[in-house]
Structures are given as structure tokens and as C-alpha cells.
């Protein structure tokens, strides 16, 4: 190729200096353009239509313990998507066995079971599922999990109290209904 190198030296191309889109951005564009969300979930893009790598999803469960509540999740998509799952945090302080008070979410497809064939739609449905079927076997909030296991009625009362901005034990929550 040395011949070509010499040619290039003489007539250096004036390549357009605009960044091309990365593979992660393209794949995300496809995911987002195909979103098909249930009525109870809505998505917003705080940085406008051209930044799809950061967005928020609002979930308003229409059944189960959390009916009537509004829960906001932030999504951060890495440049390595879809080979790495997005980072998802719950921005609303919540009393939930699988979400801790810092907003960490224990959902298998966000960590150990993530696969590149999954997409943003699957994650949002997964999150929605956490509200209809909270699971005491994979606890992140140990106390909430124990109550759900031993006394589901009390768990329901605690959820209602947390959502209306009260205390559960020593922990205070903000109103999210």
C-alpha cells in the first residue's frame, strides 16, 4: 500500500469533519423508534430529541399494591450499548422489596441476565412488572421484603403510607400520588 500512501501525501483528502454516529447510538435509535409502551408508562427526553442516551420513564401502576403512585426512573445508556445494559435508577424514593432507598433496582435483566437481544422496551416492561409482582425472594430493601413475605396486608398498608408521604418505621417518604 506504500504507493497509495505516497499518492495521499500529495492530495490529502478534505474529509468532512463531522462525527459519525456510533453503533450504540444507532442501535438505540432503533430501540426508541420502535417503543411500544403500555398506557401506564411514559418516556421523556430531558436533553431534547437528539440525545437518546439519557432519558426518563414515568410509571403509573394501574393495578397491585402501587396503584395510584407515580415513579420516575432515569436511564443512562453507555457507549457500549447493547453489549452493556443501561444504568437504571429509581428517582422516586420508594418502599419496595426490590428497590432500595438509594434507587438501586434489582431486576435480573439489568445485570446478570442482560443480553444484547433485549432492548429498552423489555426493560420498561420489566420495571412495570416489579410493581405488579414485587418479589420478596430477591430483596434489596430487606425490611420491605420481610413484611411482604410475613404480612402482605401490612405491606399494602406500608406502601400506601409511603406513597402518601408518611413514615414507614424510621424512614420518611415523599408523596408520589
Amino acid at each position: 500500500m506504500i504507493k497509495l500512501f505516497k499518492v495521499k501525501e500529495k492530495q490529502r483528502e478534505n474529509a468532512e469533519n463531522a462525527k459519525k454516529q456510533t453503533a450504540a447510538e444507532l442501535r438505540l435509535h432503533k430501540d426508541i423508534s420502535e417503543l411500544n409502551l403500555p398506557k401506564s408508562c411514559s418516556i421523556t427526553f430531558p436533553n431534547g430529541k437528539d440525545d437518546l442516551m439519557n432519558f426518563e420513564v414515568l410509571i403509573r401502576p394501574d393495578e397491585g399494591y402501587y396503584v395510584g403512585g407515580k415513579f420516575l426512573f432515569s436511564f443512562q445508556v453507555s457507549p457500549h450499548y447493547p453489549h452493556e445494559a443501561p444504568k437504571v435508577k429509581c428517582k422516586t424514593k420508594i418502599y419496595h422489596p426490590n428497590i432500595d432507598l438509594e434507587g438501586n433496582v434489582c431486576l435480573n435483566i439489568l445485570r446478570e441476565d442482560w443480553k444484547p437481544v433485549l432492548n429498552i422496551n423489555t426493560i420498561i416492561y420489566g420495571l412495570y412488572h416489579l410493581f405488579t409482582e414485587p418479589n420478596y425472594e430477591d430483596p434489596l430493601n430487606h425490611d420491605a421484603a420481610a413484611v411482604l413475605r410475613d404480612n402482605p396486608v401490612l405491606f399494602g398498608t406500608n406502601v400506601k403510607r409511603a406513597m402518601s408521604g408518611g413514615f414507614v418505621g424510621h424512614t420518611s417518604f415523599s408523596r408520589c400520588t
Binding site: 500500500m1 506504500i2 474529509a15 459519525k20 447510538e25 442501535r27 435509535h29 411514559s42 437528539d50 430483596p139
Partner: protein, 448 residues
Amino acid sequence: MADSATSRSRDLDKLLLRPGNLVGPSFEPGPELRDDLRDYARVLVVGAGGLGCELLKDLALSGFKNLDVIDMDRIEVTNLNRQFLFRLEDVGKPKAEVAAKRVMERVNGVNIVPHFCRIEDKELDFYNDFNIIVLGLDSIEARSYINAVACSFLEYNVDDTPREETIKPMVDGGTEGFKGHARVILPGITPCFECTIWLFPPQVKFPLCTLAETPRTAAHCIEYAHLIKWDEVHSGKAFDPDDPEHMQWVYKEAVKRAELFGIPGVTYSLTQGVVKNIIPAIASTNAIISAACALETLKIASGCSKTLSNYLTYNGVEGLHIKATEFVRNKDCLVCGPGVLIELDTAVTLRKFIDMLEEHPRLLLSKASVTHRGKNLYMQAPPVLEEMTRSNLSLPLFDLMGKVSRDVVHVAGLSSMDNKKASSMRKLRVAFKGVPDGVTDMDMAGGA
């Protein structure tokens, strides 16, 4: 002086001055080739770590005289066992600068320009100035980035064959303990990094609830401190893996956690390893992989032998296994593929363009969303984005693309190829009729 130069190139001369049967297709042996290699070949080495040190030394000793090296890291004590260009007194200095200086001191006549910065900080023009890019990196993200940059220079002819003068060859090395790989990427000819991204195994991630409730290993305790405890204590402050104080804090918390559950084995170096995903590096593996990469670089530049086709794996874990595998390109690759050529009048609106995709025999793409250089021109979903992009539908695509004569756009939608409906994303080369090349409206093209 002349004598030492002659003796240094003696072995190289045997390759470059004489004809042979196993040479590459365009090989023209002779002193001119040797001199051209010295005068014209510009090689960029990405990374000045374990592989980078070896690569700079190997390339300098292989007759390349114009080298650049880019690395954002500073030298640490733990580098010294294998990154042989560095000394104890260099700790804290930029790797690129020290590596360039040391090789120039030892190899007469070689000129190495160091760049102490992130690879993303350089303009595309910087990368386009090199004839070959050699990668000595440790992350998939960085490889993916350089790959996208190199492939962005690639242009195709009307018949979808690559234009040879736009091919930016890459040679990629990688090591992990006793294992390594060397590969040759000729965009448009051999598979690019994204064509074979599936080669990388998924990263191991522990379930958060295991970390929170039932830790069983030292790594579980470390990840608990890193992922859960850190946020609990430092509300809002981001964890920085390169800050020793942060690492020390995670280590101490991990030790407490391990004691609580009676788990042995938490050490500071394991903490670093787990948090930063470090695998012990072995000097000899780096040397072997670098040697293979330097040879391929020489072969690409000179044509003195056919190049590796196209992926070499080395495994020294049990016995010694080396294998070359010929991977194939993904012809629809969004990064290196030609895309489908579409010629348009400048008056065609975005709406008309989207309708045309549905009829196009090579696409049959309905409900298309369109994106161009990071700008979403139209999104079919979700409703919030559809509304924000709807007004573009009545505008000419030519205007939306900044009035360039031709450029790449990507479209996502529902494809009906082979009588099967499937969601797909395609790359398109849009060319506007009657617009001469190179005439662009700079105000538009320069926009965000």
C-alpha cells in the same frame, strides 16, 4: 553512522529488496521501497501501556520512522514490571511522552510524536493523516471508537466496491493474561470491529440482591461496597475508580462486609481488579502479540508478504495454541458496510423519502425513522419524539442534511424482505442529483 544504519536494516533488506513467491499482490522490491517506508509511512499507535511499549519498540526497529502515540494515562508503579520503557522516576508522568522519548533515545533516526490526551479529544483529521492505525488497547469501547473513526473515512464506488485510497487499515492487538489476539482490519475488505462484536464474551455482573443479601465471595463484598454502600454514604458523589482515596474507601468497606459474613480473600489489589475489571497482564504475552501486530503492519505497508487473514488467536494457558481464523464481513454492517445507494432530487421532502423506502426493492422498509449524524430527522415513536420531529416531514431532505452533495443516513423500520416482516436498521448512501461534490453550505454543515 551509515554503517550502523546499514547493519540495522540488513534483516529488513532481505524482506524488502528481493522478490519472492509468497509476497503480496502489489509488492515491488527494491531500495526505493525501503526508503518510502521510512519517508512516507505514518503509523499511529493507540495506547502506550503493556502492548503500546512493545509496539513502539517493534515498529521503530522494523523500519518505520514516523510514529505517533496517543495515551491519556500516567505511569503507575504497578506498570513497571512489563511496560519496560518506564523507570521508577517516571511514575506520575504521561505514558505517551516517556515512551516516545525512550524509544527515540535508543533507535537512531526515528521520530515519535506523543499525544497525552483522550482518543475522543482528537479531530477526525488527526486520524486521517495516518496510513495505518495500530491498536494496543484494553477496552472494547476504545476499539469501537477508533473503528468507527477509521471506517468513517471509507468511501464506496457506485458498484459498492470500496475505494482503495479511502481504506484506513487497522491492526488490533489485545492480551488478557496468557491469551491474546492480533487482527488485521481493512475496512470494506475484512470484517470491521463491529462486524464481529459478538466475539466478546458478556461481562460478568452479579445480581444486586445477591450483593445486598447473600454475598458468597470476596468479589461480592467488593461490589457491594462499590455499587451499593458508596451511594448510601456519599449521596450524589460519583465514584472515581482512578482516585486512590475512593478505592481505599471501597476496600475498607469490603473488608468490613467480608468479616461480617466470614468471607476470606478481600485484598486491595483484588478490589482494584474487581472494580476496574483488571486481569493480570503478562509481559511475554504482550511481546508475542505485539510482534505479530508489528509484522502485519510491515506487511500491509510494504506488501512483502500476504497479510494475516484475518484474526489470530494465541492461547498459552495449557500448552500453546495459535490459530488464524478468517472471519467474514457483515455486508449490512452499519459501520463499515456500503449501505444502499439512493439518488434523490434536491426537492424531495422527508415524507416523500420515507415513502420511497417502502417501495425500494432492496429495502421494502415501512414506518421508517430517520437519523443523520446524530440528528433525529424523524421518529415514528414514542409520541413525544414523533411530535418534536413531525414538522421536518414537509421539508426537503437536502436542506435537513445541510445541503451536502452526498452523505450517509440511517433508517430504522419494518422490513418486508424475503416475505418476512422484521424490524431492521439500514445504512443509506444518499446522493443528490445535480449537486457538485465538495460544494457545501458551510453554515449548515457546521451545525451541531
